[in-house]
């Protein structure tokens, strides 16, 4: 039962991921990516990592994709002003991508096989995860707030135009 669900989900996620790359329109790519995120959330549920699944939908499919849409709009992708890629660029892109694939496959081949987490494992349930997060991993959790703070300050600093007239001397 769970195996059939896994195969269906894997098929859907691979197909939607490929569609993200192959669709010509950037907004369609974004929509396929949303679908891909949903299927990955399904994988998390199959691993009994329910909190992760919920967070994945809320943060990735909900919030990050909004940012992606913003970026797509900000890029101003007009068909007529899209720069034409010359052949040297294409060849170098193929070589670079091939190198990456080579490295990834060799890493995957030599990597230790992880033990399969069966679906009866209860660590991903919200309550257990909370206990682990707020007791065992307390320091990383607190450091995370510093990370979020720096992200806030950084985004404000980059995007906000300083009004120089009203600057306190």
């Amino acid at each position: 039962m769970s195996q059939i669900a896994f195969y269906i989900l894997s098929f859907l996620s691979v197909v939607s991921a490929l569609l993200v790359i192959f669709s010509k329109k950037p907004v369609h790519s974004v929509l396929y990516l949303v679908f891909c995120f949903f299927t990955i959330a399904g994988h998390y549920v199959l691993l009994n990592a329910q909190f992760l699944a919920a967070v994945h939908i809320i943060v990735y499919a909900g919030a990050i994709m909004v940012l992606f849409l913003f970026v797509v709009m900000l890029l101003n992708l007009n068909a007529d002003i899209e720069p034409h890629k010359d052949n040297v660029l294409k060849v170098s892109a193929v070589v670079a991508g091939g190198c990456l694939m080579l490295i990834m496959t060799s890493v995957m081949k030599t990597a230790d096989t992880m033990p399969i987490i069966d679906s009866t494992n209860q660590i991903g349930v919200v309550k257990n995860l909370g206990l682990a997060l707020y007791q065992t991993y307390m320091l990383p959790f607190e450091l995370l707030s510093v990370l979020l703070l720096s992200a806030m300050v950084g985004s404000v600093l980059i995007a906000k135009k300083e009004d120089i007239e009203n600057l306190p001397q």
Binding site: S2, V45, L47, A63, I64, L74, S119, G130, Y134, M152
Partner: protein
């Protein structure tokens, strides 16, 4: 510590809900397009903009402020998500967990204060 046992099979109703929701949308859109009569004309297919002649390209650059608001929303969204597992374990962790979350929120409130002071959400 005893926990509710939960398995992926518990999520079957949610999967079914998704399938029904998606299926409803897809079938209605598909069949209304197939069944309804279609007489397209130049004017009908024209871009409609509240009766005013549409001008210019739809893809015009917009203010970066929208992006800033969106990115700040994502950051506070992530912050709130961390409160779910905390709330579930609130009684088990007692004061320790409470203080822990206060420190976390305090750091983020500094960021919020910075945003307000900087006027990042102000719309001139």
């Amino acid at each position: 510590m005893i926990l509710l046992n939960s398995t992926p099979a518990d999520y079957l109703p949610i999967v079914m809900m998704f399938v029904v929701a998606m299926g409803f949308v897809v079938t209605t859109i598909f069949f209304t397009h197939k069944l309804g009569p279609k007489r397209d004309s130049k004017i009908k297919l024209d871009v409609f903009e509240c009766g005013i002649e549409s001008v210019d390209n739809a893809r015009l650059p917009f203010n970066i402020k929208y992006f800033l608001v969106a990115i700040l929303f994502v950051l506070f969204d992530v912050e709130v998500i961390f409160m779910y597992p905390w709330a579930v374990n609130f009684k088990d962790m007692g004061w320790f967990g409470f203080v822990e979350m206060l420190v976390f929120l305090g750091t983020l409130l500094v960021g919020f204060y910075y945003i307000i002071k900087k006027g990042a959400l102000k719309w001139q």
